[in-house]
């Protein structure tokens, strides 16, 4: 599967009720609504003090395209699996 690494990427914590998973989303600069939604497979990857929707974070990790993930819900959205979370604050 294709992998992408993000380093020190600003993002926002969300909780997806439809799949009961946390996600970290970040905006593609200079666009109206292009964004990357990174599904967190295990909630334990996110420190408890950051597990609040709307929390701004900076994270480093590896993203992969996973066909088992739900499709994009919104225009401009790309959905990835956060396969590895190296750091988050």
């Amino acid at each position: 599967m294709k992998q992408n690494t993000v380093e020190n990427q600003p993002g926002i914590i969300n909780f997806r009720e439809d799949i009961q998973k946390f996600s970290i989303s970040f905006h593609q600069k200079n666009t109206i609504d292009s964004q990357f939604t990174c599904i967190v497979p295990d909630s334990g990857m996110i420190p408890q003090n950051l597990q609040k929707p709307g929390t701004k974070v900076v994270f480093t990790g590896v993203l992969v395209k996973d066909p088992t993930l739900p499709p994009p819900r919104m225009g401009g959205e790309q959905v990835y699996l956060l396969a590895e979370l190296r750091s988050i604050e």
Binding site: N14, D33, F36, K56, R73, G76
Partner: protein, 434 residues
């Protein structure tokens, strides 16, 4: 990271030595040029010339003779569009489908295998009569609910003018197909906004995607929303972003055509659809079947403030006028409207204007559409100048017509030479449906 999108498939053009021999090849060429935005059938039909100089009456009349696109023929409009394509791509501007041009047309663009630039999500609404409602409003920059209603209707009208879709506002937003709200940060949909300057808004694709959220459009309350043009530093045009989001609500993804409304980047106000946007939305919903299309000549125009004109002349079937510097004015067309045909009352899709201005010193700022006394659509802050040979102004909710349609055009003339303050009104019309 780039967005992977689906692309509309397109037939490869056959290699030809020079001018294509088969009309099928020319038709494919015409389709490609239209998709790329070089060939607009309506502009080509009514005769487009850039930087048209002022002309005495006789040659002005000559210039209004139509030229047409003849499908399958290398007519003048197609050759001119091909020349523009060749110039843009650094090819020899021959107007002929030579080998280098063919290679360029066949080449992958932006890494995409096909030539269609718009892309569709796959979902579509099962009905063409959609409703929308507001959960709340913003008060940014003097915006009121009434102004927001008008702005959002203007955004929907852009899509309504090109499809069978109609959009009607309802008071109870909970029952609406498309719910609109202004929110900041986390707002309960699992996709929080990120503050000023990031994501401006987002919209959900049509059902069955996302359950109750399908079609909904959310605008980041942290942005500074405006309907004024120019917007001013740090402010975002609500009409433009709304129209973009509604494109997603209707099933469009982003387009690779720079200059289209569905291009990902916000580049300032854009109050009209690009040919690529129209092609995209029509692949999902098709066009509409016109029941009647009445037109009236420009000589019928009524001037609200004649004292604000330096000169007005009626020439043949059109009117040309010169506004006094630093003035505004309104011009009105009353369209003889067949409100009933075959015992059925007709509905209005859009008004259409044919006009030109000779510089940005003469601008069309507003187009309002009336049924009798009732204003049924308002297109505001348009900043239109230059050649507009077939400009559509939609009516989002496509109402029945009762009393006859009127089109009011608000214009402004700034400081400039006499010729820069010239405006020609050729004709006005509308499309009516069953």
């Amino acid at each position: 990271m780039s967005e992977v999108v689906e692309k509309k498939s397109s037939k490869k053009l056959k290699k030809a030595e020079y001018v294509p021999q088969k009309s099928s090849d020319v038709k494919e060429l015409q389709k490609h040029l239209q998709l790329f935005g070089y060939l607009n059938p309506e502009d080509a039909a009514f005769g487009v010339e850039e930087n048209r100089p002022p002309q005495p009456e006789e040659s002005a009349l000559e210039s209004l003779k139509t030229s047409f696109i003849e499908p399958g023929k290398m007519d003048k409009a197609t050759v001119e569009a091909l020349k523009k394509y060749q110039e843009f791509h650094g090819l020899d501007v021959t107007g002929k489908l030579d080998r280098k041009t063919l290679d360029e047309l066949d080449q992958k663009r932006c890494g995409m295998p096909d030539l269609g630039e718009f892309s569709t999500h796959g979902n579509k609404w099962s009905t063409t009569s959609l409703t929308y409602g507001f959960d709340n409003y913003t008060t940014d920059n003097g915006l009121t609910p009434a102004k927001i209603h008008e702005a959002i209707a203007q955004a929907f009208a852009m899509w309504a003018a090109e499809t069978p879709l109609s959009f009607r506002r309802v008071n109870n937003s909970a029952s609406a197909d498309i719910r609109i709200k202004f929110v900041s940060g986390a707002h309960g949909d699992g996709s929080a906004f990120d503050g000023k300057g990031g994501v401006l808004a987002h919209a959900y694709y049509p059902p069955p995607n996302s359950g109750a959220l399908a079609g909904d459009a959310h605008f980041d309350g942290a942005e500074s929303w405006t309907i004024n043009i120019p917007t001013g530093s740090g402010k975002v045009d609500l009409v433009t972003v709304a129209a973009h989001e509604f494109g997603h609500s209707l099933g469009l993804r982003h387009s690779n055509v720079n200059g289209s409304l569905m291009f990902p980047t916000y580049a300032g106000p854009m109050r009209y659809l690009h040919a690529d946007d129209i092609a995209g939305i029509r692949t999902i919903y098709g066009g509409y079947s016109i029941e009647n299309a009445p037109w009236i000549h420009g000589t019928s125009i009524q001037v609200e403030y004649p004292e604000r004109l330096e000169r007005i002349t009626r020439a043949g079937f059109y009117t040309y006028l010169y506004g006094k510097p630093n003035t505004t004015n309104w011009f009105h067309f009353a369209l003889p409207t067949p409100v009933i045909k075959d015992q059925k009352r007709l509905k209005v899709v859009c008004a259409i204007l044919r006009f030109r201005t000779f510089s940005t010193k003469a601008m069309v700022d507003h187009v309002h559409i009336y049924d009798g006394y009732s204003k049924i659509a308002a297109h505001n802050n348009l900043s239109l100048s230059g050649d507009n040979w077939f400009k559509k102004f939609g009516v989002a909710h496509k109402p029945y017509v009762y009393w006859g349609l009127g089109i009011s055009i608000g214009v402004s003339f700034s400081n400039g030479t006499l010729n820069e303050r010239r405006m020609d009104f050729v004709s006005a019309g509308c499309d009516l449906i069953n």
